[in-house]
């Protein structure tokens, strides 16, 4: 049996550092939102011959007054251009101009007007709030039965802490990726994050259910041993479940093409963080909390 609880402090420090770094990164770098939230245009092209450098491309488009032009290389011959919103006529002119630079084939074009971006921002915010609310209600429902020696609401708060841990870390990673690799927060990534919310909370709940089941079976003496025993019972399942999801997501990350690449990355980071927090943070935190309140009562 692995003594999970014994090393609680190590996990706290490890997670604490990760969360701190994520928060710092979010404050310093912020999040780099995609054009679906900010409005603007993107063109994805594939050059048939040599690919001009990014500077050459943005220089050739200066006359169109496209605002800030971000050119990113993609694959061997592809480039992705981002700039302010343009209409179809300008789009065609821009394409002709790039074609003059070097023969090119357009793979996709996207234009998002400012009002659409605004609307999507609002909708996303509502969805995130609703998801968090639904999960909180779900947690309250899952722990509605009175339990001893640990009060139900303590299980709830602990699962919420684990949940924020699982969301903050991927967000932190994406803020770093956004700063240094121009990776944007797009709709697929939001979808992935919301999926993580559901998944992570559930993982924690399976473990907590075990803890309560074992309290009933073994009595409530030595709470930390009961938690440790429950963690050992559930760890196989937690790891297996996350591992199978990781298998398909890693395969999607490497073979699935550009659109789904960062969607799968967000899920991979979130799932790993979720499995880690359910095993190493949620359970130990429950024990620490209980011991702390007992100590306070004793003193």
């Amino acid at each position: 049996m692995f003594p999970f609880i014994k090393y609680s402090k190590v996990y706290y420090i490890f997670s604490g550092i990760l969360i701190l770094l994520s928060i710092i990164s979010l404050i310093v770098f912020g999040l780099h939102f995609g054009i679906e939230f900010t409005g603007g245009s993107t063109i994805e092209v594939s050059f048939t011959d040599a690919r001009p450098t990014s500077e050459e491309i943005s220089k050739s488009l200066l006359s169109f007054e496209l605002g800030e032009i971000i050119v990113q290389s993609m694959g061997e011959k592809g480039s992705v251009l981002r700039f302010k919103g343009i209409d179809e006529a300008t789009h065609q002119k821009v394409l002709t101009k790039i074609n003059e630079l070097s023969p090119v084939q357009e793979k996709s074009f996207q234009y998002i007007g400012p009002s659409v971006g605004q609307e999507l921002r609002n909708k996303t915010l509502i969805a995130i709030i609703l998801a968090l609310l639904a999960i909180t209600i779900y947690i309250a429902f899952a722990f509605r039965k009175v339990s001893r020696p640990v009060a139900s609401w303590k299980y709830g708060i602990t699962s919420l802490i684990a949940l924020f841990h699982d969301i903050l870390i991927p967000l932190g990673v994406f803020s770093v990726l956004g700063k240094f690799y121009n990776v944007e927060i797009t709709i697929p990534i939001i979808a992935a994050l919301l999926t993580i919310i559901g998944f992570s909370v559930h993982d924690t709940i399976v473990i907590f259910d075990r803890i309560r089941e074992n309290i009933l079976r073994r009595g409530m003496a030595k709470f930390n041993e009961t938690v440790n025993w429950s963690l050992n019972q559930t760890v196989g399942r937690s790891v297996s479940t996350v591992f199978t999801v990781l298998l398909v997501m890693v395969s999607l990350f490497f073979f699935g093409g550009e659109t789904l690449k960062y969607f799968s990355l967000a899920l991979i980071i979130g799932m790993v963080a979720g499995a880690y927090s359910s095993i190493f943070i949620a359970g130990p935190l429950l024990v620490s909390w209980q011991e702390w309140s007992e100590k306070r009562r004793g003193a």
């Binding site: 679906e36 994805e44 209409d87 179809e88 084939q105 357009e106 793979k107 996709s108 074009f109 996207q110 234009y111 998002i112 007007g113 009002s115 659409v116 999507l120 909708k123 996303t124 969805a127 609703l130 998801a131 639904a134 999960i135 779900y138 899952a142 709709i187 697929p188 939001i190 979808a191 919301l194 999926t195 919310i197 559901g198 998944f199 909370v201 559930h202 709940i205 399976v206 259910d209 019972q233 196989g236 399942r237 297996s240 479940t241 199978t244 999801v245 298998l247 398909v248 997501m249 890693v250 395969s251 999607l252 490497f254 073979f255 699935g256 093409g257 550009e258 659109t259 789904l260 899920l267």
Partner: protein, 474 residues
């Protein structure tokens, strides 16, 4: 009881074969072909229904327009009219399955799969609807046009250039009808009214003052003659009943008498639906709603879509294989049976994608691939519990039963939880999220069935008393 499990097992096998064949009928149809050749049979092919692919996989353009409804009072019917007008235009592009949908209160979504000239499409969609009333040409007028058309046809047959003929543009005109001064601008309103005695639907037109005068003149000179009503240059409704509006359709009520006062009624044998269609289109020409240029546009080239589809499918296949290898290595015989259930799961979901049908987008495929990874979670929970029961020294069949029973609350909570999140994701009108949430939730529901019901049947059939001697398999 013993009999029952075999019946269910056979049922599961048949379901799996049907779903698999429906999802990928190529092999079966090839087999049927070779049988037909060999024995001169005429067996029919298995139903070959294609997957419905979204724009990001198929290539095409997705446009969102915002309508200017500031001048309109009845916004809902104005939007319905606009949708109708745009649908008529979009049908002219000849693309397969275009989509025109109202989103929210004042937004219009237009999807044109596989369209080549996006600029032309945008220009055409952005035009203000034009309603016109055409009168019949006199014979003296139509003869030169008909002659010119015949002449042009002859030149064309010989492969000549028709633009060299004198006054060749005459051949482009309609030889039988010509526009009057009256158009949508002069129509204030159209509505459906019902005849007081026969209760048949009629169409009532109301012109403004200027329109009333024009209409009076036109009706006066065209008594007992038809007056054609055209929208965007073609018939306002499908009169031939072939489901499309083309050159052979013409809606032209006969003018019975000179009409003064600016109010006219079109009678005749028509269904209420037809009357409503006509009225809606008349109104869209009378009070044109402006939509301008799109507020959002997404164009996907056909090559990108095909590449994305192929890549994501292979990613799914690799992922599926990896999960199967993992399950067999870690859970041995039960893992193998769970893998069989997983493959049946994939076949059923793919078959449902075709059957419902669900429009597959990259996001949808992403959700489906995610669900493959999540589908075995139920099995993992069950097997973990089963192993615990076995360790307690319980009999195999009891352990299987207990495993399912004890794991059920966790499985139920887990999937319910994911379904809640899916439902919230579905609130997004973004097609990406919708596609993702839809396939993921469909996957979750089907995986409950496959992981619990199918795996259980397989375990009951294949794991008997013999397994107690080969405990390492479990």
């Amino acid at each position: 009881m013993i009999q029952q499990k075999y019946f269910i097992f056979i049922g599961v096998i048949i379901l799996a074969l049907l779903a698999g064949t429906f999802a990928y009928p190529n092999y079966v149809n090839k087999g049927i072909d070779s049988l037909n050749n060999k024995f001169h049979w005429t067996l029919p092919h298995f139903w070959d229904k294609p997957f419905v692919l979204g724009l990001d996989l198929h290539g095409g353009v997705n446009l969102i327009y915002q309508a200017d409804l500031s001048t309109v009072t009845d916004k809902a019917s104005a939007m319905a009219g606009l949708r109708d007008v745009i649908e008529r235009r979009v049908n002219l592009f000849g693309v397969s399955e275009p989509v025109v949908q109202i989103q929210g209160q004042d937004k219009l979504l237009v999807e044109l799969p596989g369209v080549k000239d996006v600029k032309q499409a945008i220009d055409m969609i952005g035009q203000t609807p034009y309603l016109e009333f055409d009168e019949v040409r006199s014979e003296a007028e139509s003869k030169p046009i008909l002659d010119k058309i015949a002449e042009a046809q002859k030149v064309q047959e010989k492969g000549g250039d028709i633009s060299k003929i004198k006054d060749w543009t005459l051949a482009l005109q309609n030889p039988y009808i010509k526009p009057t001064e009256l158009n949508g601008k002069y129509l204030s309103k159209a509505s459906v009214v019902f005849d007081q005695t026969t209760y048949k639907p009629q169409i009532q037109l109301q012109f403004n003052n200027e329109g009333a005068k024009l209409f009076e003149n036109i009706t006066a000179r065209n008594i007992k003659k038809p007056l054609a009503i055209l929208l965007d240059g073609s018939s306002i409704i499908d009169t031939t009943g072939d489901g499309k509006i083309d050159g052979s359709d013409l809606y032209a009520p006969i003018i019975q008498d000179k009409i003064t006062g600016g109010t006219a009624v079109i009678t005749g044998d028509m269904s209420t639906k037809t009357a409503n269609d006509i009225v809606r289109r008349l109104n869209s020409g009378a009070l044109p709603v402006k939509i301008g240029s799109p507020i959002s546009q997404e164009t996907v080239g056909p090559t990108l879509g095909a590449v994305s589809l192929k890549k994501s499918l292979w990613a799914g296949i690799y992922g599926l294989l990896a999960v199967i290898i993992f399950m067999v290595l870690f859970y041995r015989l039960p893992g193998l049976l769970a893998s069989v259930a997983l493959i049946i799961y994939v076949a059923i979901v793919l078959a449902l994608f075709k059957l419902i049908p669900i429009t597959l987008t990259l996001a949808g495929i992403g959700g489906f691939i995610l669900s493959i990874g999540m589908a075995v979670d139920a099995n993992i929970l069950i097997f973990a519990r089963m192993k615990e029961e076995l360790r307690l020294g319980k009999d195999i069949s009891v352990a299987i039963k207990e495993g399912f029973k004890r794991a059920w609350p966790s499985i139920r909570d887990s999937n319910f939880n994911s379904l809640i999140v899916c439902a919230i994701l579905f609130l997004f009108t973004t097609s990406f999220i919708k596609g993702f949430a839809l396939t993921l939730s469909l996957g979750i529901i089907i995986s409950l069935f496959s992981a619990i019901f199918i795996t259980r049947v397989l375990l009951l059939v294949f794991v008997g008393k013999w397994a107690s001697k080969l405990r390492w398999l479990l």
